[in-house]
């Protein structure tokens, strides 16, 4: 297995995170989230490195990593599109939105576009039924969506990505 090294910034945050909990291993999930925020996903090699850092077993980290669906084990696109498909959004038309996105981006659920910009997933309730249908783009909510709004959103995101390049 490849040797994994955390970034210096991450290492400085570890102590502060660990200090918030009564036991070092309780900081496991927050630290895994940190890693995912920094890298976009949680790589396999980081499991052993984090286990060593917290003084817990590899099995524990691996178990947590694979148990929670919100940890991504493979690198994804720059924008993670999470379309809610739970009851309220479903009734408000999320099925159509999902079909539209699949067509426009040319990917299936869980897939990443060839340009590495978008990863599309369907998720359960995002907790915003009042503004259904809802989709998250990375950490931001996009509410009361329609196909037109979605169309513009995707174009804007593409343009933003181009401008950043």
């Amino acid at each position: 297995m490849k040797k994994f090294k955390f970034s210096p910034e991450f290492n400085t945050r570890v102590a502060a995170t660990v200090a918030r909990y009564p036991r070092a291993d309780a900081a496991l999930i927050p630290l895994m989230q940190e890693v995912q925020r920094e890298l976009g996903h949680f790589p396999e090699e980081a499991a052993q490195a984090l286990a060593n850092l917290l003084g817990i077993s590899y099995a524990r980290v691996k178990g947590v990593l694979t148990f929670y669906t919100m940890f991504r084990r493979e690198p994804g696109g720059r924008y993670l599109l999470q379309v809610c498909r739970n009851l309220s959004c479903h009734m408000a038309g999320s099925v159509k939105l999902l079909e539209y996105l699949k067509g426009r981006l040319g990917v299936e659920e869980g897939g990443t576009t060839h340009d590495g910009l978008f990863t599309l997933v369907a998720v359960e309730c995002l907790g915003s039924c009042g503004t259904a249908p809802v989709m998250m783009v990375n950490d931001d909510y996009h509410e009361n969506l329609t196909v037109e709004k979605l169309d513009k959103l995707i174009s804007d995101l593409r343009a933003a990505a181009k401008a950043q390049k």
């Binding site: 297995m1 052993q48 077993s57 590899y58 099995a59 524990r60 691996k62 178990g63 694979t66 148990f67």
Partner: protein
């Protein structure tokens, strides 16, 4: 603190779990994930018991006893819970008992008959399928379909060997035991995982499909793989040994190392002699002894050397010492220097010989040369004939750069080229014998299988040779050998050597 289990009062130390308290009273609460030598996981749920006054059933393995508690271990509620847990555990179980090597010692079979007996509501076709026959390591095969995710194996690798090769992945009915990427279960204690696995998920690659377990006979004995002398149970059938399993004994952990478990293989090794092999060709074992005796008889006492060994039992070394005394040679060595100790913190000893302490007792009672002096003696050319254990005679001759005709006792398939006579000898699997381990504890090996026809333990062979050369040592029976051990070795004077059950430790 005092509590009631099934209406019977008992007293336990604070911190004792209900399961342990019940077991101490002789009430066996079923368990899969609980193992006395591992941490408590509480995930299999089969040990649910009813605590009077508590709203829900509790897991007996993880609930500590409390003052005044009243526990019911087989109420209607508990029995129903166990049946339901069994049904859950068996939902995705493939039910391939006919081709499963665990059959006969399987926790699922046993508890199904005892607590389940339900009709499956899940058709075979709907079961989650998983990988079967995974090559998990040198000695292990993993079948993920049969696994009930008790995590004993994961905890063993974390807590005992600290090698962490295993983990549980994913969740719900998708979860399974997996190896760490790039890892194999090749730690020195891997076969314990096949033992502690309560189902047929981990099976021993060495043992599987060689014998159904209900045909096996069990003989309590000890491992002679190193100076630790772990308690083992020899599983055998039809005169062949199939496997060695750990046997519970005070002062020893519940494990065995892989190397120790494989020691039984020397018994049936293709090169292990069953007949004597002499310059004149193959002889029956008894004729081999006559040949050795005739060579000895032609020499002056000082021309004969006798070589004891820490790999042979107390009985064998005593008889060789007596033989040296009866012949009247000063050229004998009962010495072996070693620095024993547990090298990995679990079981494996730095000293590979099972009886170095025993040999040193005989050395101090009978004298003789040290290994270094003996080597000089061999190099001097005075010695014309050696009697000893094959491996050590070989090493001693190589060290002394000498080539001296010798009769050697062979327990294994170690080749013995150029020896005047190779005498087959019964091993500790084939004869009752005693060792003393590194800590001074008496270890009793018991004959589990018969030696090949005419093959004797070394002490008996030495007795026959002594009689043939006209210097009898009168050790015809094992009782006589044990008496002689007691009378000649002050440390063993009061030892209960003949009592099969008695324990003894050197002061």
């Amino acid at each position: 603190m005092r509590l009631k289990i099934d209406g019977k009062e008992t007293e336990v130390k604070p911190g004792t779990s209900i399961l342990e308290a019940a077991q101490a009273m002789g009430v066996l609460i079923p368990r899969y994930c609980y193992h006395p030598s591992l941490s408590v996981a509480g995930n299999c749920r089969i040990c649910l018991v009813e605590i009077e006054g508590a709203p829900k059933l509790a897991t007996a393995c993880s609930t500590p006893c409390a003052e005044g508690m009243s526990v019911l271990t087989s109420s209607e509620k508990v029995r129903a819970a166990r049946r339901d847990v069994m049904e859950f555990l068996l939902i995705n179980h493939p039910l391939d008992c006919p081709i499963c090597d665990q059959a006969g010692e399987c926790g699922l079979q046993d508890y199904y008959m005892e607590h389940g007996r339900h009709k499956s509501r899940f058709p075979q076709a709907d079961k989650v399928r998983r990988q079967k026959r995974r090559d998990a390591g040198k000695y292990l095969v993993l079948d993920n379909e049969r696994c009930i995710l008790c995590t004993r194996c994961v905890r063993f690798c974390e807590e005992v060997t600290k090698t962490e090769e295993l983990c549980v992945r994913e969740r719900g009915d998708r979860s399974y035991i997996d190896l760490k990427p790039g890892a194999r279960l090749d730690n020195d204690y891997s076969l314990n995982i096949a033992d502690i696995c309560p189902v047929g998920a981990f099976t021993s690659a060495d043992f599987r499909f060689r014998k159904r377990v209900w045909f096996l006979e069990r003989t309590p004995s000890v491992c002679a793989g190193c100076a630790t002398g772990c308690p083992v149970e020899v599983h055998h059938s039809g005169g062949a040994v199939y496997r060695l399993m750990p046997r519970p004994e005070e002062g020893f952990p519940a494990w065995l190392c892989d190397e120790g478990r494989m020691t039984y293989k020397s018994l049936r090794a293709p090169g292990r002699p069953a007949a004597a092999f002499c310059e004149e060709g193959n002889l029956k074992p008894a004729a081999g002894l006559r040949f050795a005796a005739s060579r000895l008889g032609k020499l002056k006492p000082e021309q004969v050397a006798i070589f004891g060994s820490p790999f042979m039992s107390l009985e064998d070394n005593l008889a060789l010492a007596e033989l040296a005394a009866a012949i009247g040679t000063r050229n004998f060595c009962l010495h072996f220097s070693t620095e024993p100790g547990i090298k990995d913190g679990i079981l494996k000893n730095t000293d590979h010989s099972p009886n170095a302490r025993g040999l040193s007792l005989i050395h101090s009672a009978y004298g003789g040369y040290t290994r270094e002096q003996f080597s000089e003696k061999l190099a001097s050319g005075e010695v014309k004939f050696i009697l000893g254990r094959n491996e050590e005679v070989k090493a001693a001759l190589a060290a002394a750069k000498a080539d001296i005709p010798s009769s050697v006792f062979s327990f294994s398939d170690e080749p013995a080229p150029g020896r005047a006579c190779v005498l087959p000898a019964a091993s500790h699997f084939e004869s009752d014998c005693l060792f003393i381990n590194y800590a001074g504890r008496l270890r009793r090996a018991r004959a589990a299988v018969k030696a090949p026809e005419g093959v004797l333990p070394v002490w008996q062979a030495a007795d026959r040779i002594a009689s043939m050369v006209g210097a009898p040592i009168r050790l015809e029976t094992r009782a006589a050998v044990l008496e002689r051990l007691k009378s000649r070795i002050p440390e063993l004077a009061g030892a209960p050597l003949a009592d099969d059950k008695a324990e003894f430790e050197l002061k």
